[in-house]
């Protein structure tokens, strides 16, 4: 079964879903094992699916946007990289690092991965409050 956003993804794009901006029922669906797959086409149609692409042609972009994808061609900002967990400041860390929580869904794994990064880096409170740490 082909489901948009689940197993039908455009090539050469980094895909991101903002379920946190969606309705509660969609978040619950995205966190339900197996049934999570049905949350993805809805998320795309509701404009919660973002494609980060370096250079789509105008026609490709129009096609993707007509489906519901939000197409971003700019580079991610430092803030976006920090919140998603791809950019970190080095911190002194006297604690033992803990592994991410086990999650059975894609979005659950992404959430637990971000929590793990920010807890490990000591930036969890900034992550939760959506503020940047000093130094970034």
């Amino acid at each position: 079964m082909n489901l948009l956003g689940w197993n039908v993804l455009p090539d050469d794009c980094a895909v991101e879903f903002k379920f946190e901006d969606g309705p509660r029922w969609l978040k619950i669906l995205a966190l339900t094992p197996y049934f999570e797959r049905f949350a993805y086409p809805t998320a795309v149609k509701r404009g919660l699916g973002i494609l980060w692409s370096s250079a789509p042609s105008q026609s490709e972009r129009e096609t993707l946007e007509s489906i519901g994808w939000i197409v971003q061609t700019r580079e991610k900002t430092k803030e976006e990289k920090f919140f998603e967990g791809s950019l970190a400041l080095l911190t002194s860390e006297p604690k033992r690092r803990q592994r991410p929580h086990i999650a059975l869904t894609r979005w659950g794994r992404q959430r637990s991965s971000r929590n793990y990064v920010h807890k490990s880096n000591g930036t969890y409170s900034q992550f939760k409050n959506r503020t940047l740490p000093s130094g970034l």
């Binding site: 080095l90 911190t91 880096n121 970034l136």
Partner: protein
């Protein structure tokens, strides 16, 4: 009857345990001097331009049918290191991984790569990159990203 009681308590513990974080014995090799700098039990952001980053895993344009990822640590005037693990989710919890690490001065960059496995008609495969960035004083940072690729 008593056996049933013990059994339900055991099942209860297992269920609770599965939702708790899996901790590993990943020691961070802190030196005494580093410990004296850091306040125990509290994390101190050093800043000063010392940072680590990981890119999204992507299909290589140089080596066909290969997925790769770049990670780097930057800290001006200090010894730095990066250890990057690229892993691919397999059946159930089994993963295939490729790890690379590198040390250097001021800036180090690594490229971790794996051969593609995806076949036409299959769902995209989930790749996870996790990097641990360190500097000479023992300060560290973690970066981690997921991406689905037809590779």
């Amino acid at each position: 009857m008593k056996k049933h009681g013990y059994f339900s308590v055991l099942v209860g513990f297992v269920l609770i345990g599965s939702s708790v974080t899996l901790s590993t014995n990943e020691n961070l090799d802190l030196t005494r001097s580093h410990l004296s700098q850091a306040r125990i039990g509290e994390k101190v952001i050093l800043g000063g331009g010392c940072m680590g980053r990981s890119d999204y895993p992507h299909i290589s344009t140089h080596v066909s049918r290969t997925v790769n990822v770049i990670a780097e640590t930057i800290c001006s005037g200090r010894q730095v290191s990066v250890r990057t693990t690229l892993s691919r989710r397999g059946w159930l919890f089994f993963r295939e991984t490729a790890s690379v690490s590198k040390f250097g001065m001021s800036s180090v960059r690594v490229n971790a790569a794996m051969k593609c496995k995806w076949k036409t008609g299959e769902s995209p495969i989930e790749y996870v990159v996790e990097s641990v960035h360190r500097d000479g004083t023992g300060a560290s940072g973690v970066t981690r990203l997921h991406r689905f690729l037809k590779c």
